[in-house]
Structure formats: structure tokens, C-alpha cells
Amino acid sequence: MNVLVLKPSRQKLEFSLLTQGSERSFCAGQVGDYRSEEASRTALEEVKGAIARAASANTGAPLPSVIAVRGVYGGAEFREPTLVSPNTFARLERLIPSAPLHIPPLLNLIRACQAAWLETPLALVFETSFFADLPAREHLYAIDPNLTGRPGVRRFGYHGILHAAACQQIARKRRALGMNAPARVLSICLEARPELAAVLGPNPLLVTSGATPLEGLPGQTACGELDPSIVLMLAQKKGWGAEQINDTLTRQSGWLGLVGRSTTLAEIFGSRRRECQLARDVLQYRLLLACGAGMAALGGVDAVVFSGRSAAVGVGLGLWLKQKIESAQTDGNAPITIEIFQESVDRVLADTAAALMLTPRRKSK
């Protein structure tokens, strides 16, 4: 089955066409602005053009059998992948108040997709779905929800697609070894905004991200966890408004802020450069704290799995964490396995969409 994967994010639309039986994508790339109604039409024309160009060098353009659209935020509304049907639009519109920046462009993109690829089904897969049932003790903040102005405000995770796939792989491996008890997994997604989830069997019990992806582990340019007073202090000392502070916290902080220039996880953990030392120490330490919290949530740990674009960093990092975790545990615990989940989010999305097409309970309303 040929699947066209579309990943809209804040500033760009990434696409990738995965064909049946092939490990590599037939064609992949990104286009710029897609957010308005008109821009999304133009963006998809560019995607079509790119596919056609890739085809002329090969043998004919493969038509997608399904389009998989990755959504960042689906709230409590979208608990699993869905094929887009007429009532999907109303469900998405209900989410606008809680994600005013995400949902309207997504709606534009979906409508443009339907116009560009008539009759091609669309699968909508949300990063937050995996975390829809996160227990209240974990997802609630110690603030009266009526005072926040956003009554539904709660914690989510934002890399659910990879966490779910990585944990499923661990479950399969364990079943093959005859281990049927639900695995206690620390799932670490190494993307531009790294995220740790503590997962028991298929259920996440804890995640480092928050009401938005800004909370949690420091990201490429995002600050992660902060003392709330720091935000107020910046407002006072700098005389900045919310938007300006937001810009600094989301685009000039994180590893960028710690190293003083843009960098990658591979460089931070792979090189011995002095300017990367602080970023390495801070990230390692925050991960260790999150692992400890996760172990408390799970009552122990069986496996640590790394996923995401920088999953390979987990080879070395995993050994360090394993040694730390094992020294905190009492003797008699089974050794922890470290796994690297290699698949890309594109492949997981394509597989999810293909599986949706094949399930009999396909919604066609």
C-alpha cells in the first residue's frame, strides 16, 4: 500500500511517500507555509510536483492509497487514529479553543488534501492520543482550572506515536521470550523536544511534557521545565510581554541557550567539545531525574527504549542511565534491557494508516 505521510508543524509541512515493500521513502521533502486555506492548496501542489519529478526519474508516479496526516494535538477528543469522515470536522472544531494555533491550519490542510487527492482516504493520527487516558493524578496541575482561563488544561505527551510503537515492539520481543507480564518501560523519544514517558504495558503513567510541549526536558531551542517565578521575573526585569518571553523560551533556549549556538543531540553526546559540556550534564541529569520518577510511577523498570531521529544517541546514553538506575535499585531486580527503536515516525504513520484501511470497523459516515 502506498502511503503519503504529511506532517504539518508550526512553520512547515513535511511530506514523505512510502511505497509498499520499500524501506526508503519514494520521495520526501518539506514545503513552507501551508497554514491558510490558500497556502495549503499551493503547498499540496508543490508536494504533487515533487512526487511527479521523483517519478520521472523512476518509473511512473505511485498514487497514494491513503494519506496519513500527523496531528500534534488532539486533546481528549481523539483517542486513536481515525479515518477522516464528515463528522471529523465538527470534532476538530471543538478543539479550537484549547489549541487555537494548531487546529485551524490542520482543518485547512485536510480540506486541501481532499480536493487535491479526490477519493483518497485520509487517516488522522495524533501525537497526544497515546496520552488521552493519562491518570488524573499525573495530568492535573495544582491550580484551580477555573482560574486558568482554559478549563480543560492538563498534561499531555507530544510524541505518542513513537512511544506507542516502541513499547509495542518491546511487548512483542518479550512475548517471543515467553514473558507475558506487562512490561515496565521508560520510553525516551530523542527528537528536537525530547520526551520521556513511563509506560506500563500499553498505558503511559507519566510523561515529562506538560500542557504544552514547552514543559519537560530541555529541547533544541525550548527551555523545558522552569520555576514559574522565572517567567514573572523576566516580565518584570525585561519589561517584556507574554509573546516576547514566549519567543525567548521556545526559540532561544534549550540546548541552543546552553551551548551558545545551534547544536544536535549527536554533537552534545558524541563530541567532547567543551562548550557542549554543560548541555550534556544538564540533559543527562534531567533524564536521570525523569527515569527515577518513572521508576517510582511504574514500581520498577524492565526496559529503557530510545526512539526518534536521534535514537542512536541512546546507545551510549542508555548505558550511563542503566548503570545509574541499577545502582539505585536493590539487588534481585532483573537486569534492565536497553533497546533502540529504529523506525522513523513516517514509517510508523504509514503502517498505522495502512492498518486503519484494513480494519473492518472502518467508519464511512
Binding site: 488524573a136 493524578r137 492535573l140 496541575y141 495544582a142 491550580i143 484551580d144 482560574l147 486558568t148 488544561v153 498534561r155 506538560g210 504544552t212 514547552l214 514543559e215 527551555c223 523545558g224 522552569l226 520555576d227 514559574p228 517565578s229 522565572i230 517567567v231 514573572l232 521575573m233 523576566l234 516580565a235 518584570q236 526585569k237 510581554g241 507574554a242 518571553i245 525567548t248 523560551l249 532561544q252 533556549s253 541557550g257 546552553l258 551558545g260 554543560l278 548541555a279 550534564d281 544538564v282 541529569y285 536521570l288 531525574l289 525523569a290 527515577g292 520518577a293 521508576m295 517510582a296 510511577a297 514500581g299 520498577g300 545509574k324 545502582s327 539505585a328 535499585q329 536493590t330 531486580n333
Partner: protein, 429 residues
């Protein structure tokens, strides 16, 4: 040496007079309703020996309360203090040890006002009043942040641009240090372990503020509070950890009214925000177990409160490795077995086994509530910040000539002198 210890609240002033190093309490009390006149008069409740007294007297500010306390003490010659110890919440990066108060120290403290706008000024007003009225009475400032000066860069650094970290002093400072250090030393003594090799997680669970501290070789390596006492655990009315984006949306909602947002996060969140009815976790737990229809909001409050504690306990156990002890202290930690149980159950993987019967029947302190086979001891230790401050004050003044001084220290007068006029300007009414 008779050491008079002061601990300022926002509208109260606690004091105790201790004979050191014998650690005998001679008298103690609390001035209440310090501030502009209210419906009820300002009053000092105090105790000498076993006898209790009250004295109604107007005290318009902390300096006036100090004056009244001193008057009261000087009425009995045997209660005349030889030294004063002050509790200061914030010592910034400058004050990592108890410090003898003098003019230059006050000048340096003035520069920290920004870091602790709510907490330091009352204590500083007391220090000014004391050095003016009793210039020969030595004063020592003991800082809540001092014990946390050893927190390493990996734990104290926020992932922010260098400019913020270096120029604005944004870092984790940590709080409750006087208490964490005190209970850690008590716990080490109880287990007959030397402090320099003692590892622990200390849980200071007050009825107001609360924090956990990771301790390695007798030194603080992390604290759940951060740049301010707002971060970390769910407290009675403080929010603890929040997504920074939530603060930004609150700021946007209030048209940038920082003070309103700050008041909300400090006074209306935490247990109060979650429960909607009480700021005291003991009320929540009591109503939860009381017969009658279950109240889902109270159940959630208890669940969020203890879950956050468990997460941080797990995090710090991973950092410390295998600790000698987990220490529970302050009002909630000392007196609410349910909270200790909620934190310690299901933590066997970390070597923690609570004995439910021991946990429910703590009658003396320190008490070990771990099961015999538990590799990690679980100790309930009574904190005593005033005694801790008296010890540090006594140590600091007593070290005197025996201690090798650096030239810089020698150039500063050991005894407090009348302050320069410039330093007095900052004194608050």
C-alpha cells in the same frame, strides 16, 4: 552563651532564647499580628520555664516587635542575650555560610532584595533595628539557601540563554536548607553514621511550604524548590511545577499584571486550588476517609499531592543511589502517617519497605518506621530550625581566634558596629 533566635513570618515574629552549647531553652514566644492595627490587638505569647504569659502591645512592624521582645527579655537579667541569630530565606550566591552581620553584609544583603522580595525584608528590618539599638550585640545571619550552595551545575542550571543565567542570576537556589541540614545531621547521628559519608533524601513537608532534598556525602545535591520557593511539590497554596506556557497565558489574560499572577500562584493554588475548599492536606485526607459520599475533587487533590511527592522521591533516589535513609520532617512529615505511607509503598525496587504498624504509632522522635529487612531506613525526625540557627550562630561566633581567617575576613569587624547611613536607607518600616 545565650543565643536569641528570630524567625520572621509575614505578620509574626517567633523567638527563642537558647543556652549554647548546652542547647537548653530558657524562654521563647511569638509576637502575633505584627503590622498596622487590626480588629484584634498585637500580642506576644511567651513562655518562661513552664509558665505561659501574654502581653498585649502595639507592634506596627517587625522592628517594633523586636523592640518589645527585647524589652521583655531585659526585664530578667538571666534572660539577657549574648548573641542574636536570624533566619534569612535568601542568601543568593554570596552567602554560603552563616555570616556575622556588619555594615558591609547589610549592603550586600540589600542587593539581594530583588531575589527575595517577600522573604528577606522583615528579617533585615530586625537586623537594622538590632544594630542601632544594641550595637554591641553580635548578630549572625543563617541562610536557608546556604546548605544548597553545593548543588552542582547540572542540577542548578535552567536551559536558558547565557545572558539570563549569568546576568540575571537565574538558577536554582533551593530553600528549607536549614531544616534539611538539621534533620540530616540528626538522622546520621541516630544511625551512628558520620555526616561526610551520609546519603539521604530529606522530605521537609510543612503545612505551608514543602520541599525534598537529595543529599550525597552530607551535602545537598538537589532541592525541589528552584529559583524561588514556588517550584516543585504541591504545597498548601503554592502551585509547584507548572508548564511555563501556562504562566504566559495567565500573563496574557491579565494584560501583563505580574502581581496578580504571582498572588494567584502563591496564594490560591496548590492544595487549595485543587480542592477548592481547604489549603490543608490534613483536612483533605481526613474528609477522604470520613464516612459518607465520596468527594471526587478531594480524592483527586490527595492523589495529585502524593503522586508529585512520589515522583520526586523516585527522581532523588535515582540521583542519590542507595541512600542510608529517607527522612520525613516538619508538620506533615512528622505527624501524618498516611502521607509517609503513600510515598513509601510500592517503592520496594528502591530498597524501601515501610512497617505499617511502626508508621502508625510514632510516639517519639527520631523514629525509624522502616521494616527490619528494609535496606533503606525510613526516619521520622523532628525539625527544629531555631535550634539549628542557634547552633550555627554559636559555632560561628565561638570559632573566633581558633579559626584561620583570610585577610579579607580579618579586615571586617567581628562585632556589629553602628551601620553607615547609606545602609540604613533601605530599612523598611
Amino acid at each position: 552563651m545565650k543565643v536569641l533566635v528570630f524567625n520572621c513570618g509575614s505578620s509574626s515574629l517567633k523567638y527563642r532564647l537558647l543556652k549554647m552549647p548546652e542547647e537548653v531553652e530558657l524562654t521563647g514566644g511569638e509576637a502575633q499580628r505584627v503590622g498596622p492595627p487590626t480588629a484584634k490587638p498585637s500580642v506576644i505569647f511567651y513562655q518562661i520555664g513552664r509558665e505561659k504569659f501574654t502581653r498585649e502591645v502595639p507592634m506596627r512592624d517587625h522592628a517594633a516587635a523586636f523592640e518589645e521582645v527585647m524589652k521583655l527579655l531585659l526585664e530578667s537579667p538571666e534572660l539577657k542575650p549574648d548573641a542574636v541569630g536570624h533566619r534569612l530565606v535568601h542568601g543568593g550566591t554570596e552567602f554560603c555560610d552563616p555570616t556575622v552581620v556588619n555594615g558591609s553584609v547589610m549592603t550586600r544583603l540589600e542587593t539581594l532584595r530583588d531575589l527575595a522580595p517577600l522573604h528577606n525584608p522583615p528579617a533585615m528590618a530586625l537586623m537594622y533595628a538590632c544594630s542601632q539599638r544594641y550595637p554591641d550585640l553580635p548578630q549572625v545571619a543563617v541562610f536557608d539557601t546556604a546548605f544548597h550552595a553545593t548543588i552542582p551545575a547540572c542540577a542548578r542550571t535552567y536551559a536558558l540563554p547565557r545572558e539570563f543565567r549569568e546576568d540575571l542570576g537565574i538558577r536554582k537556589y533551593g530553600f528549607h536548607g536549614t531544616s534539611h541540614q538539621f534533620v540530616m545531621e540528626e538522622a546520621a547521628a541516630f544511625l551512628k553514621k558520620p555526616v561526610p559519608s551520609f546519603n539521604a533524601v530529606s522530605c521537609h513537608l510543612g503545612s505551608g511550604g514543602a520541599s525534598l532534598c537529595a543529599i550525597v556525602r552530607g551535602r545537598s545535591v538537589d532541592n525541589t524548590m528552584g529559583y524561588s520557593p514556588l517550584q516543585g511539590l504541591v504545597m498548601s497554596t503554592r502551585c509547584g511545577d507548572l508548564d511555563p506556557a501556562m504562566i504566559l497565558s495567565l500573563l496574557a489574560q491579565t494584560q501583563g499584571d505580574r502581581q496578580r499572577v504571582s498572588a494567584l500562584l502563591n496564594n490560591q493554588c496548590g492544595v487549595l486550588g485543587l480542592s477548592g475548599s481547604t489549603a490543608d492536606i490534613r483536612d483533605v485526607l481526613a474528609q477522604q476517609t470520613a464516612p459518607g459520599t465520596p468527594n471526587p475533587r478531594l480524592e483527586q487533590t490527595a492523589a495529585v499531592y502524593t503522586w508529585r511527592l512520589r515522583k520526586y522521591l523516585g527522581a532523588y533516589l535515582a540521583v542519590v543511589g542507595r541512600p542510608d535513609a529517607v527522612i520525613f520532617t516538619d508538620t506533615i512529615g512528622e505527624t501524618v502517617p498516611q502521607v509517609r505511607w503513600a510515598m513509601a509503598s510500592g517503592m520496594e525496587g528502591f530498597g524501601i519497605r515501610l512497617d505499617a504498624r511502626r508508621n502508625d504509632s510514632v510516639t517519639h522522635y527520631p523514629a525509624d518506621v522502616a521494616a527490619d529487612e528494609s535496606p533503606v531506613r525510613l526516619l521520622v525526625v523532628r525539625t527544629n530550625e531555631e535550634l539549628a540557627i542557634a547552633r550555627r550562630t554559636h559555632q560561628t561566633l565561638d570559632r573566633g581566634p581558633a579559626r584561620a581567617e583570610t585577610p579579607r575576613e580579618r579586615s571586617q569587624p567581628r562585632r556589629a558596629k553602628t551601620l553607615p547611613a547609606s545602609a540604613k536607607k533601605g530599612a523598611r518600616a
